[in-house]
């Protein structure tokens, strides 16, 4: 005697008297599986968690869950004086701390309406661009790891170590510098700094080419990234993408050029956008290429800065720093081009207090990551990893 029972989508379960269960595999019912990718996963670049709904290897939906590194940066800012926020900004995007400090310093200086010595501006641009190269090196190296290529990662870290050494020489710290202060710098650069900087540039140029030959000339690397995670330009703008992500979608937009700050208008550099020869515009490979080619532009900027820089005679890096930083009442939204995109600071001052009433960091990673849900739909798990890697998130900045 048999009992027929319909289970799920058309599969039939036949139960026999002898307690033996037989599933007739006709139109076998399949279920979607929830896969928690992270927070302890090697390729989510920190503590991001992606809740993936998977159908076999295909992702039907991936929902990013944030907040594992949330330190309430903004609440901290409201409780300390303006200069004391600088170390906190270091800890936003810890891979490009100089750029974060730079962005914050510009924002407060706009509120204060003060003028900065020219040499300070040059040093700021030099250290920011150095940090940009270091940050891009980490991005490119970890992207290699995401795709299974280990060696480029260590090549990147070898060269990044030299940059960190230079920045440590200037500021005294390896990663979290507290070097760019509101209205000035903590210290002038050491005596032989520019000489060593030139040596680094001559050393690094061929190394960058070698790095490119390891990745972008590798057929497997191209196969894994070309045409994956394509983001059209208008959607990218609507999502608020910025930096290499937006340029990867073919929009020629760089805040250093389009909303210039500091001495960038005087410098000659190219805004890198993919030409669509090697990559499909807007895919993972384009974003990778933008980062790889931007390093060369940063080197050019540094070279120009070294040439144009005023001498250190009678230079005091702290000369323009106000005795008491208390901006007049008002609001400012100021932004700077970080390695990962637009880092904006919205600061509100009431004119009475030496603490900001509201200090919001518009983090580029946070905004770039918000497109994850759309980008990941219908991708394979390995492609999802490739896409996360190409977004290049730093969770310190996402979660703040």
């Amino acid at each position: 005697m048999q009992e027929l029972e319909r289970v799920g989508q058309g599969s039939v379960r036949v139960t026999r008297k002898s307690d033996k269960l037989v599933i007739v595999e006709k139109d076998l019912a399949t279920e979607q599986m929830v896969l928690a990718m992270g927070p302890q996963h090697p390729s989510t670049h920190g503590v991001l968690k992606l809740e993936c709904l998977t159908d076999g290897e295909v992702i039907t939906e991936a929902i990013p869950c944030l907040g594992y590194l949330h330190r309430c940066f903004e609440k901290c800012c409201e409780n300390v004086d303006y200069p004391a926020v600088v170390p906190y900004t270091d800890r936003l995007d810890y891979l490009s701390a100089m750029n974060s400090e730079f962005a914050y310093a510009i924002a407060v200086e706009k509120l204060l309406d003060i003028e900065i010595p020219r040499r300070v501006e040059f040093i700021r641009v030099i250290v920011a661009e150095l940090n940009r190269i270091a940050s891009h090196l980490v991005a490119i190296g970890t992207y290699g790891i995401d795709l299974g290529a280990f060696t480029p990662f260590l090549f990147c870290f070898r060269d990044r170590e030299i940059i960190l050494g230079l920045l440590e020489w200037a500021s005294g710290a390896r990663m979290l510098y507290n070097y760019i202060w509101i209205g000035g710098l903590a210290y002038d650069v050491p005596a032989d700094f520019l000489k060593r900087l030139r040596e680094f540039i001559t050393y690094f140029r061929p190394k960058a080419v070698e790095l490119q030959s390891l990745l972008t000339e590798n057929e497997i690397f191209l196969k894994r990234t070309r045409g994956i995670g394509i983001m059209p330009a208008d959607v990218a703008i609507n999502y608020g993408w910025s930096g290499p992500m937006l340029r990867g979608s073919g929009v020629k937009w760089d805040l250093r050029r389009n909303d210039p700050y500091s001495i960038y208008p005087e410098l000659d550099f190219k805004v890198v956008v993919p030409d669509g020869k090697l990559s499909v515009v807007g895919d993972c490979l384009s974003r990778h290429l933008v980062r790889a080619l931007e390093m060369e532009e940063s080197l050019r900027i540094i070279e120009q800065c070294i040439d144009k820089m005023p001498t250190s005679e009678g230079f005091n890096p702290r000369s323009a720093i106000p005795k008491r930083i208390r901006p007049k009442a008002g609001e400012v939204y100021s932004r700077a081009e970080n390695p990962r995109g637009e880092l904006g600071f919205y600061i509100e001052s009431d004119g009475k207090s030496t603490k900001p009433v509201r200090c919001k960091a518009r983090s580029s990673c946070f905004v770039n990551l918000s497109a994850m849900k759309d980008l990941s739909k219908g991708q394979l798990i390995p492609d999802l990893v490739a896409i996360i890697g190409s977004i290049d998130i730093v969770l310190g900045e996402v979660d703040r």
Partner: protein, 372 residues
């Protein structure tokens, strides 16, 4: 065999050509009715695997990867970090052997065992020297190809038994990969077998010996032999889950694939199996295409390099160094190339390697019939 003074000198050390006779005598040695001799004989390759994976497998891979990546590798434990692997083994021995609560205990425990046995069984038919082969089967090559499939069972047991989604993904990927790549691999080896006209590993080796050294190797027999050689090399990378086909254990995607949940000695056994099968495929490719224990050096007139460098002991040296060379290439590739995607891997297998394997099969057949 040769009668040069050098070879004669080496014969007494390994009891020369009588080694097989010696081992057969050992098989008959039953202490108190227990087949002790058989156990000792079976342990010889095991000892070799253990030594090799300790020294060359783990330490070598670390050092090779380090030199490729512009760093030093292990340097602290012992001179040049030579004792690092011993320290690691001690660490692994002391580690708690965790079996997850929700795991299927039977499958979880038996998985690494099957895996290890699968990679180890093929050593039985590997000819390490003219005088030593574990089991001189007349279907040796066929056995070596077939026995690899046992590993699939072990991987599936480990992945399913772990009750972890990442392990499951790894296991399913691995099974799909190994089963698929066995087809081009087997056809490519069949080309070699066709050139030899036998499946006996020892006979395949003997057919490739001669006074011109490497010129007698099947790889240089015909230009066509390069195709199955390359096909088998690529497919063997996939069969032992090495980069660029390491998708079953893709660290950046699947955490660690089918062995995510393993710790302690079970983890070590899985690694031992991996290094074991790395040597196994390298040895098979050297036997079939590169003359196995034959010396590659040719006799140049009175300079009888080939004659001097052949013999039971030299055979072991050549066999192992050829195997190690291919392992070195495997490591070299691993530290250079990114990883393929699942579908690209299958594309490569079914749409590139398999058709080319068939073509080379037909071409080899034509060559063997019409070219003397």
């Amino acid at each position: 065999m040769s009668t040069t003074p050098l070879s004669q000198f080496s014969i007494p050390l390994l009891m020369g050509n009588n080694l097989n006779g010696w081992s057969e005598a050992l098989v008959g040695f039953n202490l108190l009715g227990l087949p002790l001799g058989l156990v000792i004989l079976a342990a010889i390759p095991l000892v070799f695997i253990a030594l090799y994976s300790l020294t060359y497998g783990v330490y070598g891979e670390r050092k090779i990867s380090a030199f490729m990546q512009d760093r030093l590798g292990p340097m602290e434990v012992g001179k040049w970090g030579l004792l690092q692997t011993i320290a690691d083994i001690l660490k692994l021995l002391q580690k708690e052997d965790i079996v997850p609560t929700s795991a299927d205990k039977f499958l979880f425990v038996i998985g690494p065992g099957i895996l290890f046995v699968g990679s180890f069984l093929a050593y039985a038919v590997l000819p390490f020297s003219p005088a030593f082969i574990g089991a001189s089967l007349n279907v040796g090559l066929f056995f070596a190809i077939g026995i690899v499939a046992i590993e699939v069972v072990g991987i599936l047991a480990a992945g399913w038994g772990s009750n972890n989604k990442w392990s499951l993904y790894g296991a399913v990927r691995s099974v799909a990969q190994i089963v698929s790549y066995e087809i081009p691999a087997a056809i490519a080896l069949l080309c070699g077998a066709m050139m030899a006209g036998t499946l006996d590993m020892q006979k395949i080796n003997i057919l490739q010996s001669g006074s011109y050294g490497f010129a007698h190797f099947f790889l240089f027999h015909s230009p066509i032999a390069w195709i199955p050689f390359l096909i088998y090399f690529i497919a063997s990378l996939a069969e032992v889950n090495r980069a660029p086909f390491d998708i079953p254990e893709a660290e950046s995607e699947l955490v660690a694939g089918y062995f995510t949940e393993y710790s302690g000695m079970k983890f070590a056994v899985i690694f031992l199996a991996e290094y074991g099968s790395m040597f196994m495929v390298s040895a098979i490719i050297s036997v079939v295409f590169l003359g196995g224990w034959n010396s590659p050096l040719p006799n140049l007139g009175s300079l009888a390099l080939n004659t001097w460098t052949n013999g039971p002991i030299w055979g072991v040296l050549w066999m192992i160094s050829k195997g190690f060379f291919f392992i070195f290439v495997q490591m070299w590739l691993r530290w250079t190339l990114p990883r393929l995607r699942v579908d690209q891997l299958m594309y490569l297998c079914w749409k590139v390697l398999t058709p080319f394997a068939f073509i080379s099969f037909v071409l080899t057949a034509i060559w063997e019939i019409y070219v003397p």
